[in-house]
Structures are given as structure tokens and as C-alpha cells.
Subunit: 201 residues, 6 copies
């Protein structure tokens, strides 16, 4: 069974997020972890999985810039999975392709428009059920500006939580260690999950 | 005549759905089953056929990801047909092409936008009369969020049925057997059919 | 002069539709029939011609699916013309190209969006003056759902006629003979014509 | 100076339209006639020129259908110019290209969407200042249906003139002689001009 | 320093526009004139530069029609610059490219949609800050028709000035001499500038 | 650590902006400066970074015009960074690519639509989180015109500050020295930052 045995982090309201970070290689089986996420969001989570994508740019032989997906963060109510992807993609990543194409869940994200285009154009990854949370928040609250905000600002406007821990890590991102970066990813996932939860009422 | 002699399942309100699962080969004649569905939805069903598509990803020779349609689920008020498609497509699938292009019925689905694009780009399948039920529900009920929900969440918001059987199967999808997966497909089809029915009033 | 000497059918309110079915070959002159339709819709019909397209799918040499137009139905207030087209198209079909491009009439149809794309992409046929009746009905009546309905459901919602004859033929479409199929086409044409007529008031 | 010495026709309210029909050859100078139209619409006409395009379809060597512009009708308040164009286009037609690209006038037409696309794709003709009169009428009058109507129906709905002369010619279009076809073109031009005039108030 | 030493013209309200017409050759330095315009519109003009484009059509070797930019008119509150461009473009026109891409000013025009496409497709010229004045006027005044009007009609509707001088020149455009054409360009620039000014209140 | 040791400028309300201009070469490490900006906008700035792009046009070998990014301005509440980019781009610019793709901040600009297209088409740079401030201002204030204005006019309409210093430099842009151009960039950045700040209330 998949153990989310990475660091755990307390959120500002005391809620505990359990994380797991994996450096995916050709022999890594990620499907048990994806199944754990699916299970958690079916029983505990409004069928929502918060996702974020991390891209890196490389110059190819013919001097044209190319974006490749370097990491993926997937969050549910209780869990946060962080996958560092190999370059180039190995066969076992088909599990991730199928997971992203699932209609059992809604993939919730912030400013995902360019991400969806890059996913399809550069890797042929298709997300069939996605939600741009800023657009929904703007419609639901009647505040046009939130459509354009990033996670921190959007969450601050909707939830009014104390953002100092996240600000602290992100303000010095280049110097942040692996654990701090994982904590920031977990906080962002939990924030967007909470915004989505709030907008349902 | 086409016998829907697969397992039958009781829905939460006691309604009985009769299923049929077919592994389609080059010699399989699927047209009698498509005709049964047409007959059922003409007499019993608001001319609506609920559909869902299951895709698989493979890597082609030149390392580019390709999506191919692996299964199709078609539901009417009383019936659920589950076709597992061959790879590559055989000639007899022309019946499915013609069926999807029919204007006698409306093909109702959830989050079908990417599906319609993939159908046309990868297989040249064209659905002329389709309805994205989330969009209709959002307009009809004035609740923007339902446009982005999957089957389970959308049905829960509109119908308030007990979803525990569906949650139970889908939470452990990888471990679910063929019968359970068929039951989940039948439940989803019946749920969307019921939502569509509800929105007509 | 063009004789519409095919079967005639009575509609539910007693109105009589005169039909003509033609298997078009290279030597067939269809222009007298198109002229009759034009004449009927100028004097008797709000300048509207209801149309429906029937497609067939074939696999070409390089295994890519191709849609070709196999039949066309054109209805006015009193007449219904059913053309079965040759494969490949012969020169005399230029009359049909010019007819479809006419601005003297409005070509009214149901769920015609994909049809117009397929017509242009696959055959270079251009319809300059077309009307998607579901979209108009939805706007005129303020009922969003009718935009997505097929002929039978749309007509039922707007006109409340008895649809049993049409349901009877279409529920067993594969077994229906040529005469019944012609009658169904005539009924559908007359229904849409009547909806269009209704929406003018 | 350009003489509009073709047939003159009386409209239903007694207004007189002077026409000129030209079979354009390589040596024909059409610019004096275009200048006359410009002059008439500057002094007498709200800077509007009503236009209509007549297309013919031919099959090219590689069996692909091609649309070529066969005739152009240009109407002002008092004049109607009918140009039958050569095939292929000769150099002197550059005057028509420049005329269509003029910003001194607004080219008003009915159902011109496909026409503008065909003009650009097939002939590289660009109209910079055009107006789809049905769209404007629908907005101005709040009647959605008029956006989809042809000249006769649109004019009838806005102006309530007697259309019997136009109906008479168009109902038997194939048998109509050159003079009658010219008269129909003149009537349509004057009708749309009058609708445009009416919508200004 | 750049002298606008061409003809000056009085507008209907007595306002004086100073013009300069230049036949641009490979050695012509147009940048002082562009700088003068920039200076005038920064101090005197709401940062608006009214522009109009004049195109010519030529047939290229492979018989495909090509549009090339033949002249450009740039107007500020007090000045009007008319550039006749060489064919083909020479290196010194880079100043015009950079000027058009400026974000210091807003380039205001009438019916500029096709112009912007032709500029980019045919010459790679990009205008980053442009305003279609008809669209703004329609929104600001609630009159849908003005979106489709040319300069003369739009200005007449908004300003109610006496247009007889402009009508006089444009009605006989082919016979108009260089000075009259320059005056018409100056009048049009000043009219649109005045409309833009009016819409700010 | 990155020192913003370039000229400092006082804004009209006395606020002090610290600048840094860098001529980027292959060995230049720009990441400390980007980190400083990130830090400033996290702690002091609503997570907004105001940006502006400066393009130059060159003619390539095959005589087709090409736009290349020549400079980038990035402003936060207190800082303004001005990067002059090498031609062609060197490897160290990957830091700028990654910075632009960040979702930690919102990149705020004026008239950025064409910029985003040129960035992607010509350099493969993708900005995932951007905001066109004119569009937001138009929606928030209900004044359609501001969507089309440049920085100076937009800021003047929203803030009513004294613009004479900016006008003074921009009116004579060609003659302005490096320091003045830097000051203008700093003023524009601070103006848009202030508008964004204002629109949040």
C-alpha cells in the first residue's frame, strides 16, 4: 500500500497535511500513490484534486526553446503528492496520463490556461475535467480582479488566513531547501482546496 | 434480436438497469444492440443517450503520445451498453460511427469538450447532436460551479441521491473487478439520465 | 416540368406533404425539382427550406476515416425532395452546390453546426444563408435546453403534436423500408417548418 | 463620363432605379462606373453601397471544387451596377479590388459572412468596411430572427412593402431573362438600401 | 528639426491643420517627423495619433493577389503627416515599424480590423496599442450602428459638423489632385481626433 | 546579494524608486536581481510585478521582418529593474524564462495582448499569470475607454497625478539620455503599480 511517509505539516488552522515526494525513475510505480489520492478525494474531498505544474526550459538542438514538465503537485484534503519527473518521460508515466484524463475527479488549479496548452502541445497530456478556480471565484463573488490572482492573493481575499509562513518561504525561493519547498506546495494545495470548499456554500 | 443479458443492477431508488458488455472483434455485429438502445430511448427516454468515453495512451514509433478510444458506454433509461473496442479499429465499427452521427437522439455527457476534440482528431468520429449537461445545469439552475463538476458531484448537487455505492467502487478503482466497473458505469449513466430528466421540468 | 409524383403523406393535423425520391446518377437533371422547391417556398413558405443531411463513413486507402454526403432532404411547406447522391459526385451536382449557396432562401435545420463544417471540408459545399432553429427557439422562448434537442424533441416542446408515427418509424430504423424512411423525412421536414412558422409570431 | 444607360425600373413606391450591366473583358474600363457610384452615395446616400455576390462552382484539375466570383451587384440610392466578371480575372479588375477596400463607403449586405471568407480565400479581395444588415436590424429592433433572413424576408419585416414583383421573378429564376434578373437585383439593392435608411432613424 | 511645411488647411470650426507629405526613398530620414508627431500628441493631444492606411494590390509572379501598404496618414491635434512608401520597403522604414509598436501613444482609427491583419500578415508590422473608434462610440453612446460607419458618417453622427468640403473632394476622388487628397486626409484625421476628444467627456 | 545601486528617482508624491540597469551578457547572473524583486513584491507588494517589453525589428536573410525582445522592465513597489538583452539570447536568460513563468506573482501590464503573442511566437517565453490592467480598470470603473489607453493616460484617469515629468521625457524620447529613459520607465512602473493598488479597494 502507498505510504505518504514524507514530512507532515500543520496549516494555520491546525489541520495536518501528510506529504510524499518521489523522484520518479523508469522503474517507479506511482499508481499506488495516485490510487491513495483518488481514495482520499472520493471519501473526504468533494472529488477535487488541486494540481500545480512546474516547468523547465531547455534549448533544443535547433536552438528553439522547449518547455518540459519537471514536477507535478497533486493535493487532496489530507494529502500532498509531489512528483519529480524524469527527462525524457519513461513508460511508467502513462499512469499519470491516465490519471489526468480521469473524469472521476475535478482537477482544480490557479492560472491553468497556459498550463493546459503546454501539457497538450508538449507532452500530449489531456485533462478532461478541470476548473480554473479564479474564474469561478470571480463569478461567484462578483469581484473581477480575483480571476487574475495567484494562489496566495486569491486565498487571502477569500479566506483571510495568515499567509506569513508561505510568504516567508516564497520570498526567498531560490535559497529554500527541499523541505521548505515541499511545505509551500502543501500549503498552496490546502489553500486552494479550502477556497474551493468555501465556494461550494 | 439483441439480448441485454449481462448483469442487472438496482439503483438507489430501486430502478433496475440491464447491462450488456461486449468485447468487440472484427466479426462482432454491434448493430442490433445499437438498435435496441435507439428503440429504448425513442419510446422510454426523451430521445437522450448518455455516453462516456474511456481512452488509453500509447507511445507511437516516433515517441509521440497517442490517445486511442478503448471503450464506450451508452446508457438509456433502462439499458447500459459497454463496448470494449479492438485496436486498431475494424470495419464493423462503422456502425458506431454512424450511430454517433445520428440526429435522432441527443448524446448527453459530462465534461465532453476534450472528448469531442479527441474523437474527431484521432478517429474521425463526429457527434452531430451532443449536450454538455453541466453547462445546461449551470444555466438552468443559476449555479456556475456545476459546469465544472464530474458525474458524481453534479448528480449529487441536482438529485441529492445516496452516492455510497458509486463512491465505494470508484474509490478503489484499480482493484475493482469487471462486474463492479460495469455497475459503476451503469450507475453513472442512470444518474446523468436522471439529471437530464430533472432539468426538463 | 418537375413532378413530385412520389408517395404523399398526411401529417397529424391532416396537412398533405407530396414527396419525390431520386437516385441521382450522372445523367440525372435535378434542377427542375430544385426550381419547384424554390417556387413553392417563394409563394407558400416564408422563403424557408428545411434541410437535413445524411452522411456515410468509408475508410480511404490510407486508413483514415472519411465522411461523404450520401443523401440530402429538402422540405418546403408542401413538398419534400429526397436525393440519394452518387459516389463519387458527378458534374450535374453543381446544381445542388449552386442551390445551397442561394441567398433567395434560408436553409433551416437542426443541429447543423457539424454538418456545415463537414460540407465545406469534405465537399467544398457552402451554405450562405442558414439558420440553426434550436438556437433561435432557445432565444425566442427563453428555454436554454431546446438549443440541444433533435427535431422530434424540439418540435414536441414547441408544437405539442402527436409524435407517435415518427417515433414508430425511427424506433425501428434499421428495419424500416424505403417508404417509411421517406415518410419520416417528410414528417421531420414539416415539423421544423411548422416550428419556424410558429417562431415568427 | 459613365452612363448608366441600361434599363430603368420603378420600385413599389414609384422610386426610379437606373441600372447598367457590363460584361467585363480585359479591355473594359470599369472605373468611371465605380466613380459614379461613389459620387451618388456621397451626395445622395449615407455613404452606403449595397452589394451582392454571385458565385459559380467549377471542378479543378485535381477534382476539388472551387468557387469563383462570377458577378457583382453594387447599388446606391439611385443606381444599380451589375458586373459580369471574366474567368480568369484580368488586370483591369484591380479597380474593383481597390473599390472594395475603400473606407469612404460602407458596403452593406445580407448574409455576407461566407461571402467575405470566400472573397479573401479564393480571390484575395478584402472589404475593410462592411455591415451585415441582419445583425444590425436584430440588435436595433430586438427581434433575433431577422439576423438569419434573406433580403426579401428581412425587407418585408422592416418595411412592409409589396414584394410580389420580386417574388414573381425569383420564383421562376431559371426561366427569368436577363432583364428580369437585372430588375430583381435592382429591387433587392433598393430594398436593403431602404432598410438601412430606416434603421438610421 | 522637422518642418511641417506642406500646405495648411482650415477646418470647419476654423482650426488650422499643418500638413507634410513625403515621398519616402531609401535615404529619407522620417524619424524627425515621427518625433514631432509624438511631441505634439504628448503635449496637445491626449496621447492619441489618428492613423489611416492606403493599400495597393498587385499580382505576383504566381498570379496570387498581394496587398502592399502604399501610404500612411498620421494625424495629431495640429499636424498631419502623409508618407508615400517605397516598393519594396527600404531599411529606413524600421523607424515606422518601431513607431507603430510604441506604447506611448494610442493609435486611433476607423474600421481598422482588416488593416491590422494585413499589416501583420503582409509586412510584419505590429501595432500594440490601437483603438477602433466606432466600437468605442457604439458602447459609449449606446448606438449599435456607429460601429460600422466610416469616418465621415461616424463624425457626422457624433459631431454634427458641416461635411461638404470632405464630400466634395471624396465624391470625385479619381479626379482629385494631390493637394485636395492631402486636405481630405487632414480633415478625416481632425474629425476622428475630435470624435475621440468628445468621447472622453 | 543583489544591489539596486542604479539611480534613484522621486515620484510625484515623494515616493522613492530604486533602479538598476543591466546590460546582460553571456556571463551575467541576473537571478539575484530577480530574487530581490520577488522578495519585494511578496513582502511589500500584493504579489504584483509591473512589466513592460521593448522590441526591435530586424530584417532576416530572407527579407522577412523579425521582432526580437531588446529590453525588459520589471517594477515592484520600491524597485525597478531594467535589463538590456543580448542578441542572440544566451543561456543565462533561462532565469528570465523561468521567472516569467512563475505563478508566485501576477505580471501586470498595459496593452500586453500583442506582447504575449510575440513573446511566445518569437522566443517561446510563456507568462502563465498576467493581468491586462486596462481591461480590469474598465470593468471595475465602468468606463469602456480605459481599456484602450496607454500607461500615462490610464494612470491620469485613475489617479489624477501630475504627469509633467513623464510627458517631458517621452515628448522628446529620441533625444532622451539613458538616465532619463530609466526614470521614465521607473515612473511608468510605479504608476501602474499604484493603479493596481487603487483598483484593489
Amino acid at each position: 500500500m502507498a505510504n505518504f511517509d514524507g514530512p507532515g505539516f500543520a496549516m494555520v488552522d491546525g489541520y495536518w497535511i501528510q506529504t510524499k515526494a518521489i523522484d520518479v525513475e523508469s522503474s517507479t510505480d506511482i499508481s499506488p500513490y495516485l490510487s491513495r489520492l483518488l481514495e482520499d478525494c472520493v471519501w473526504n474531498g468533494n472529488r477535487a484534486i488541486v494540481f500545480d505544474l512546474y516547468w523547465d526550459v531547455t534549448k533544443s538542438a535547433d536552438a528553439k526553446s522547449e518547455w518540459r514538465l519537471s514536477s507535478v503537485k497533486l493535493s487532496t484534503k489530507n494529502l500532498c503528492l509531489f512528483l519529480r519527473l524524469p527527462n525524457p518521460f519513461t513508460d511508467n508515466l502513462k499512469d499519470l496520463y491516465r490519471f489526468f484524463a480521469s473524469k472521476f475527479v475535478t482537477f482544480v488549479g490557479v492560472q491553468i490556461q497556459e498550463d493546459l496548452v503546454l501539457l497538450k502541445e508538449n507532452h500530449g497530456i489531456v485533462i478532461r475535467s478541470s476548473l480554473e478556480i479564479g474564474k469561478l471565484a470571480a463569478k461567484a463573488r462578483g469581484t473581477p480582479i480575483v480571476e487574475f490572482l495567484g494562489t496566495r492573493e486569491l486565498a487571502h481575499k477569500i479566506l483571510w488566513y495568515d499567509m506569513s509562513r508561505l510568504d516567508s518561504i516564497q520570498s526567498k525561493w531560490d535559497e529554500a531547501g527541499g523541505n521548505d519547498r515541499l511545505e509551500a506546495a502543501a500549503i498552496e494545495g490546502w489553500l486552494i482546496y479550502s477556497v474551493y470548499d468555501q465556494l461550494q456554500q
